[in-house]
């Protein structure tokens, strides 16, 4: 019984066949799920990046501002629109409570996206197909991205970052 001590020696009890069947299936399933993760790094095309560097808000802002000055093609609603060359390093800055600049990318081209925050933790959430990364101050997170569809994308902040959190929306345009 579950509420009184078991028999003196319970380790040698035989496990019945239903339980053995179940435990075998469960172990195999666990191994399959475990293998899927490294396997996807080899065969899959959607893996979280582990390329990151230490930085500071001032340093990151300087790099991002240089990037914006170099490739700026216009402005939308007061935010710089930037069209970087294919294959280049691109920057998106998170700060209370906006994302900048607006990025203009080419479908099928690969970029190295640098993400960092100038103040709090923020969450990079790309809409509409929900792709999410954490944006951590003092870390430059480099994600190699290849947009696969054209259209207007939005970037929502999905980590609580203070009382204006809900106002934090950015934009990426893919042509």
């Amino acid at each position: 019984m579950s509420v009184v001590p078991p028999e003196r020696v319970w380790w040698t009890e035989k496990i019945p066949k239903e339980e053995k069947t179940w435990i075998t299936i469960a172990i195999i399933w666990g191994i399959v799920m475990f293998i899927m993760m490294p396997l996807w790094h080899v065969v899959g095309k959607q893996n979280p990046s582990t390329e990151s560097y230490t930085t500071t808000p001032a340093e990151f802002m300087k790099e991002a501002d240089a990037f914006i000055a170099k490739y700026k093609v216009g402005a939308e609603k007061g935010v710089a629109v930037v069209e970087p060359p294919v294959g280049s390093d691109i920057y998106m800055v998170a700060q209370q409570w906006n994302w900048y600049p607006v990025l203009k990318l080419k479908k099928g081209a690969t970029y190295r996206l640098h993400l960092s925050s100038l103040d709090m933790l923020h969450g990079f959430s790309l809409y509409p197909m929900s792709t999410n990364f954490m944006v951590v101050p003092n870390y430059d997170y480099v994600i190699t991205i290849t947009p696969t569809e054209t259209g207007d994308y939005h970037v929502v902040c999905n980590e609580f970052c203070g009382l204006g959190h809900q106002m934090m929306v950015g934009k990426i345009i893919v042509e």
Binding site: E18, M36, P48, T131, T146
Partner: protein, 41 residues
């Protein structure tokens, strides 16, 4: 059916198999959904 078999948890085994099937289906479905996002590495 023998006297002993009557008391075996065969119903539970059936229930956990249904649960397991659902688990595997959702697992596969999630990988398919994942393939729809931008290429990332």
């Amino acid at each position: 059916m023998s006297e002993e078999e009557k008391f075996e948890p065969r119903g539970t085994l059936a229930l956990v198999f249904i649960f397991f099937t659902l688990f595997v289906l959702l697992y596969i479905l999630n990988w398919i959904w994942l393939s729809g996002v931008w290429e990332l590495s």
